[in-house]
Amino acid sequence: MALLQLENVHTYYGHIHALKGISLEVNQGEIVTLIGTNGAGKSTTLRTISGMARPRTGSVKLEGKPIHNLPPHQITRLGVGHVPEGRRIFPRLTVRENLEMGGFTVARGDVQRRIDSTFVLFPRIKERLEQLGGTLSGGEQQMLAMARGLVLEPRILLLDEPSMGLAPVLVEAIFEIIRTLHQKGTTILLVEQNARMALQVADRGYILQSGRIVMEDSAKALQSSEMVRKAYLGEE
């Protein structure tokens, strides 16, 4: 059984039909990436999974149990970690407090241990523990957002555009961390504009076009697909 399964999900924003029947699966330990242009419905898919948007029809199942009727905070409690687009650091909480918020649902004794364990991946964060979140640089904020998501020790991590607005060096670093996480067995659903990088780290990928999945294959196969190369990898 797939860890996360979406079946024929339709989501609306007011009267805008944003997702028109999305079905996808993420298996334990996989990195799956969603690729598509602006407005294709990538972020909406993630928001639907984490409960920020509600599907009008269709189902979202975590280990076979439907979660699409739960409020977001309960979905998080079930182990769905969502690192939102644009990082969304709490600007007037310190870095430490930001991390603590990531472990809001975790038992008190465990939080400190988990925070400490994220420092292995994000050593920069450790130096800035008492600084306010809003004073960090963009790259540091992205690190913090990911670290904050990892404090939950999620069963599946939803990453929304982790490379957005970052310098190439930092993008490299972020994807290196994603690779490391993969090796440690973390399940990730990755949404990226940078399709090339995404397909390099991912096991499988889905191509979204205006709310529909138009293609689904292993990452390798997608990389070599003519259509993907033209439309998303910028190759002639």
Partner: protein, 605 residues
């Protein structure tokens, strides 16, 4: 975006609903109507039986005719649903309608024989109501056009109902709280029902300019009520420009009213003459018209002066600051009784908390007094004393003056709404940042709204001071601002008709219905009445728990309930409904997400 928010009821349902409503109305009229000349026996009802005994010959007819008329009414609707198919109902309608008209004719002849004149007949035994009722019911049956007939019935019934009740009746407060609102609401029914424009205007003029003043001449309490309604309606039109059109919540609106009132008061009151050490008032009553204009200008200027610094503020801050300004004006007028530090030469502008007494009213031509006197005599309410003639004439003058000024306000507001200025206001209200980006001069537009709203209130202030001949700071407290706000909210922000309706409903609720509840409790106390079932002797009702003094509770509940269930008001403007609906959609969306994200912060991908 959402036009079909309220699905239209199908004609069948509408017909049934109206028929039921009409039947209830008729039953009510028959069984409960208290009659005017019923001097013997209890005064509280049983109109049908009374008529039955005194007009014994018709008692059988009386039972049959309403039934037939009702059938006719229903048939009228069935004909509308399925034209060209004669049914049982249709035949019944014809028969019922004809029977109704025959009854009217017979009753009129009988009435004429016993009383000797048309006027006499109409005033006897509530004949007027019967004539209206049965004529209308008959017409419905014969013509199948229930709309116009319905409204005529409504107006007729409520008018004669108001006339039929008398203050001596124990349940007068109850009857009056039903009858008078029915009459004052009727203009809005006229407006909401489809009919020829000429008929609409004729009916409006009939109610507003003839029937209401007539009722007012008979009972000056009603006259006072309709003046108050008109004043508040005109002010609400002004506040509606600020809140409804430009989207600025002004919680100190009454301050501009105070500016107008004190302007006229300070110059003509007998108490404020120490300003320049003259022994007489500074302005003569003749200057009233000039001051009406000055009031408009002064309040407008005050609006600009107050608005200039604060209109850059965000909406909720602006609300609190305007509240502060309102209170500052009130505190100022209650303290400007001495603005000199010289103990000998006191300079008294406002006479402080005692208020300004003896404010002049304009002098009316003698012909007007004579006219009112003869009209009053003609409708059977002779005004015997000179003072009562003067009082009634003055009140009528103010009523029509407020109507005129209010009418001008309505026309200005309506034209503004459809002008480039109105569209600029809408743009500011809906998305200020985008509006500014599009080149809408934000501060100037807001100032204009502020000044326009203020100047209406200023004009009303001058009229109010002249009418009351007394002003005190108490009339300009925060609760008064809220009162006008409640009118705008209940009626529907941005909707002119809604605001007028709101003025009628809320003013009546506050000044008539609540007061009547207090009166009712008192008269029941006098009767030593005991509430059945719970066995509560009404005389144990605490004296402090008088409904008339709980207007805050009523306003509060109205505001909360309107905001939760119908933020666009009872008679909303189309645009507003859309805005609110959009917001509601968003709310639903967010409720679904439980962790409501701030509007605007989450882009749609």
């Amino acid at each position: 975006m959402i036009q079909n928010a309220q699905p239209k009821a199908n004609p069948d349902q509408m017909a049934r609903r109206s028929a039921i409503f009409f039947a209830v109305l008729l039953a009510f009229a028959f069984l409960l109507m208290p009659w005017r000349n019923a001097t013997s026996g209890p005064n509280t009802g049983m109109g049908l039986l009374r008529i039955g005994t005194e007009y014994g010959a018709f008692s059988l007819l009386i039972f049959l005719v309403p039934l037939a008329a009702l059938a006719g009414f229903a048939a009228g609707f069935s004909q509308r649903i399925a034209p060209h198919s004669p049914t049982f109902f249709q035949i019944a309608a014809r028969v019922g309608g004809a029977a109704g008209l025959i009854y009217v004719a017979v009753a009129m002849i009988y009435g004429l024989q016993t009383t000797g004149s048309v006027g006499g007949m109409l005033s006897v035994q509530g004949m007027g109501i019967w004539v209206t009722l049965f004529t209308a019911a008959g017409l419905i049956g014969l013509t199948y056009n229930p709309n116009v007939t319905f409204i005529i019935v409504w107006i007729g019934v409520s008018f004669f109902f108001v006339q039929g009740i008398r203050r001596e009746m124990t349940l007068f407060p109850l009857w009056s709280s039903i009858a008078f609102p029915m009459l004052t609401i009727s203009p809005f029914l006229v407006l909401s029902i489809k009919m020829p424009r000429a008929a609409q205007i004729a009916l409006l003029v009939l109610v507003v300019c003839v029937l209401l003043p007539m009722v007012g001449i008979e009972d000056t309490f009603y006259l006072e009520l309709i003046i108050q309604i008109s004043i508040f309606a005109a002010m609400a039109i002004g506040l509606n420009i600020v809140i409804g059109f430009a989207g600025l919540l002004d919680l100190g609106y009454i301050a501009f009213f105070a500016v107008g009132a004190y302007l006229w008061g300070m110059f003509t009151s007998t108490a404020a003459d120490t300003v320049f050490k003259t022994s007489n008032a500074l302005a003569s009553p003749d200057a009233f018209w000039l001051f009406l204009l000055l009031g408009v200008i002064a309040a407008g200027i005050t609006g600009v002066l107050l608005g200039l610094p604060v209109l850059r503020l965000r909406g909720d801050y602006l609300a609190i600051v305007t509240l502060g300004f309102g209170e500052i004006i009130r505190i100022l007028v209650s303290n400007l009784s001495n603005i000199s530090s010289n103990p000998i030469r006191r300079v008294n502008l406002t006479n402080g908390a005692q208020g300004l007494p003896g404010i002049a009213h304009p002098i009316l031509p003698q012909g007007l007094y004579d006219l009112v006197k003869s009209i009053a005599a003609a409708i059977g309410v002779p005004l015997n004393t000179q003072s009562s003639v003067e009082a009634v004439t003055l009140q009528l003058f103010f009523y029509f003056l407020v109507l005129t000024v209010g009418g001008i306000a309505v026309i200005i507001a309506a034209r503004l709404d459809n002008s480039p200025i109105g569209r600029a206001w809408t743009a500011i209200r809906e998305d200020e940042v985008a509006a500014v980006a599009m080149g809408v001069p934000r501060v100037r537009m807001k100032l204009l709204a502020f000044a326009m709203g203020a100047s209406f209130a200023g004009a009303m202030g001058v009229i109010f001071a002249a009418k009351q001949s007394f002003v005190s700071p108490e009339s300009f407290s925060f609760i008064q601002s809220i009162f006008i706000l409640v009118i705008v909210i209940v009626g529907g922000m941005g909707s002119i008709r809604g605001v007028l309706l709101g003025a009628v409903v809320v003013t009546l609720l506050n000044l008539q219905v609540l007061k009547n509840f207090s009166l009712l409790i008192n008269s029941l106390k006098n009767l030593d009445w005991v509430v059945p079932i719970i066995n509560f002797p009404i005389r144990n009702w605490p004296s402090q728990l008088e409904p008339a003094r709980y207007e805050r509770l009523v306003f509060g509940v109205l505001l909360i309930v309107m905001m939760i269930y119908r933020p666009e008001g009872i008679s909303p403007a189309k645009r507003r409904r859309m805005e609110m609906q959009e917001a509601a959609d968003q709310t639903l969306e967010e409720a679904a997400a439980e962790g409501a994200p701030r509007p605007g912060m989450d882009k749609i991908e």
